[in-house]
């Protein structure tokens, strides 16, 4: 049981590492945010779950912690992406289309 818990925890830590690696390597804010949100959320979930399985008395509080992280993390990253878009940070040159910017231009014309 302890062994399985530690393996889960290690996998979570690896996801955390890959998430911050993505934050370091990606070309623009939006892609960094993608890496930063998904990988770190799963990493946090698995690390905490491993520790909760290792000592079972902590499990309720740790499940609550996971729930909070799962609810707040996407909201904050979505708000930040919106702010970045409105404050005029361009998408990277490799991006293809930007429907939100098109719609904003239409609104200003109308």
């Amino acid at each position: 049981m302890l062994f399985i818990a530690s393996i889960i925890s290690l996998l979570g830590a690896l996801f955390l590492f890959l998430g911050s690696m993505g934050v370091l390597r990606m070309p623009d804010v939006y892609n960094r945010m993608q890496a930063g949100t998904k990988a770190t959320t799963l990493g946090t979930m698995m690390t905490l779950l491993g520790i909760g399985l290792a000592n079972t008395a902590w499990l309720p509080k740790i499940l609550l912690l996971i729930l909070f992280v799962l609810f707040t993390n996407p909201i904050s990253s979505s708000a930040l992406a919106r702010a970045a878009h409105f404050s005029g940070i361009k998408l990277t040159d490799r991006s293809i289309r930007d429907n939100l910017a098109d719609d904003k231009v239409e609104e200003q014309d109308a």
Binding site: S6, F17, T44, T47, I62, T72, S76
Partner: protein, 89 residues
């Protein structure tokens, strides 16, 4: 098997330390303010992990409350900077 488990927990601990360092480098490099806020967000989430791991090492359940505070309130800082950047504060 059990003696390996503690070694694996140690390795996980070191890996999450490296994760904090990498996002701090992004904070240092980041060209715009939004990049730095993303780095702050990732550092906070890795910090929650670190707090729980410290709690496990110390064997005190009372330390978990600090991590709960961060999980509930950390997004407030991110959202406030976001609202400031988009002009809605």
């Amino acid at each position: 098997m059990v003696e390996y488990a503690y070694i694996i927990f140690d390795i996980a601990y070191y890996i999450s330390l490296i994760a904090i360092l990498l996002s701090f480098i992004r904070f240092y490099l980041g060209p715009t303010a939004a990049d730095r806020v993303v780095a702050l967000d990732v550092i906070t989430i890795c910090g929650i992990n670190l707090i729980i791991q410290i709690a496990m090492r110390a064997g005190r359940i009372v330390y978990v409350d600090v991590a709960l505070v961060y999980a509930l309130l950390s997004f407030l800082g991110v959202i406030s900077v976001a609202r400031y950047l988009e002009g809605g504060l």
